[in-house]
């Protein structure tokens, strides 16, 4: 499950009206709003992990990593 790559203390909630997800990084206190649904988000995270390092910066998911929501 791609959510295994989430940092310790990161919480995710996917809304039942399919409007997207919200994530909290408990360590930094930052809350993010993401238009993707849970399954789509997990796919994107998996893609990001598998990307060669030099093109990772172009991915939308790069900011999740920068803000320490993800660990690789």
């Amino acid at each position: 499950m791609a959510f295994d790559s989430l940092n310790k203390g990161v919480l995710v909630h996917s809304f039942s009206d399919s409007s997207g997800c919200v994530m909290l990084n408990s360590a930094t206190g930052e809350t993010l709003s993401i238009e993707l649904q849970s399954e789509e988000l997990q796919i994107k995270i998996k893609e990001y992990i598998c990307m060669p390092q030099d093109i990772r910066a172009t991915s939308d998911i790069a900011s999740l990593y920068k803000k320490r929501f993800l660990v690789l």
Partner: protein, 289 residues
């Protein structure tokens, strides 16, 4: 002059000390029988508003607010001293209380079903709040909604409604028999007045309610009633923006608000007719599947 008073404002209680006559008069108008002489009752916090010292005492008199030995704000002009006490009370709770998720929002209930009305200044929220409170709804709070963590349950914290600028005249026309405080002029929010909610709100002051809706009201002149269903993700982020202690509560705050949003209907409305809003809320939000 007796200067120590006790206010039981469930779920908190306060010892209030003041020698400023205007403050005492306003406290009596707003809180009525709830304001009693302090006689050693157990309180959550001790507050005081008194005259500032030094030359200021005579030339341009000022009031100081203290929460026990702490003075969180610079003094304000004496004319604003009652409003200062109310704001100070809000600050005291927001700064110290972390066992509820506290939202900067009005919350009112019809029976035991409640709706949150978070709103930035200028949205006309307080006029709507005052209207509902005088028309069959009960006020749980005007500015601080207390949600029990992990639930959709709101605990009442009944206090006066804070009205600003144009809302003041509207409210005085709508509720000619209302218990209004003096107007505090030229505050950072403009002119401000406090209105005590009707007796039914005070009488039901210990009865919790379940949230069934989160509604973002916007008063817009010359507009028919427009209702937009907000998607839950947006509603959640707006609620987070309006939460006092979200950053302290972290995971608990996040989970609680996510579950609240899941369990309620979420709307943004644009209106200029209070009665229309009331009908919409009663027919579509409080009742209905």
């Amino acid at each position: 002059m007796v200067s120590d008073f006790y206010l039981d404002l469930h779920p908190f209680s306060f010892k209030v000390t003041t020698r400023i006559p205007q403050v005492l008069t306003n406290l009596q108008t707003i809180y009525g029988k709830k304001l009693v002489k302090y006689d050693g009752q157990l309180c959550s916090y001790e507050l005081s508003v008194g005259k500032a010292s030094g030359v200021r005492r005579v030339i341009r008199p000022q009031a100081r607010f203290m929460c026990d030995q702490k003075e969180p704000f610079k003094p304000l002009s004496l004319q604003k001293s009652y409003a200062f006490l109310e704001w100070g009370m809000n600050w005291t709770i927001a700064a110290n209380e972390v066992q509820h998720v506290i939202i900067h929002s009005a919350v009112l209930a019809k029976g035991d079903k409640a709706i949150l009305f978070p709103a930035p200044p200028g949205s006309g929220k307080s006029t709507l709040t005052a209207y509902l409170a005088h028309n069959g709804w009960r006020l749980l709070s005007d500015e601080m909604a207390l949600i029990i963590p992990g639930t959709n349950t709101v605990v009442p914290f009944v206090r006066p409604i804070c009205l600003k600028n144009q809302s003041i005249d509207i409210a005085k026309k709508l509720f000619p028999d209302g218990q209004f405080s003096d107007i505090a002029k030229d505050t950072h929010k403009g002119d401000v007045i406090h209105l005590s909610p009707p007796q039914i709100s005070w009488d039901a002051g210990k009865e919790n309610a379940e949230l069934v809706g989160v509604v973002f009201p916007n008063y817009t002149a010359n507009t028919d009633l427009q209702i937009y269903q907000l998607d839950k993700r947006q509603a959640f982020m707006q609620l987070v923006d309006n939460a006092f202690n979200y950053s302290v509560l972290r995971g608990v705050g996040f989970s609680t608000l996510a579950n609240v949003i899941e369990g309620v209907k979420t709307f943004e409305i644009f209106h200029n007719e209070l009665a229309e809003v009331k009908d919409f809320l009663e027919q579509e939000v409080i009742t209905g599947g």
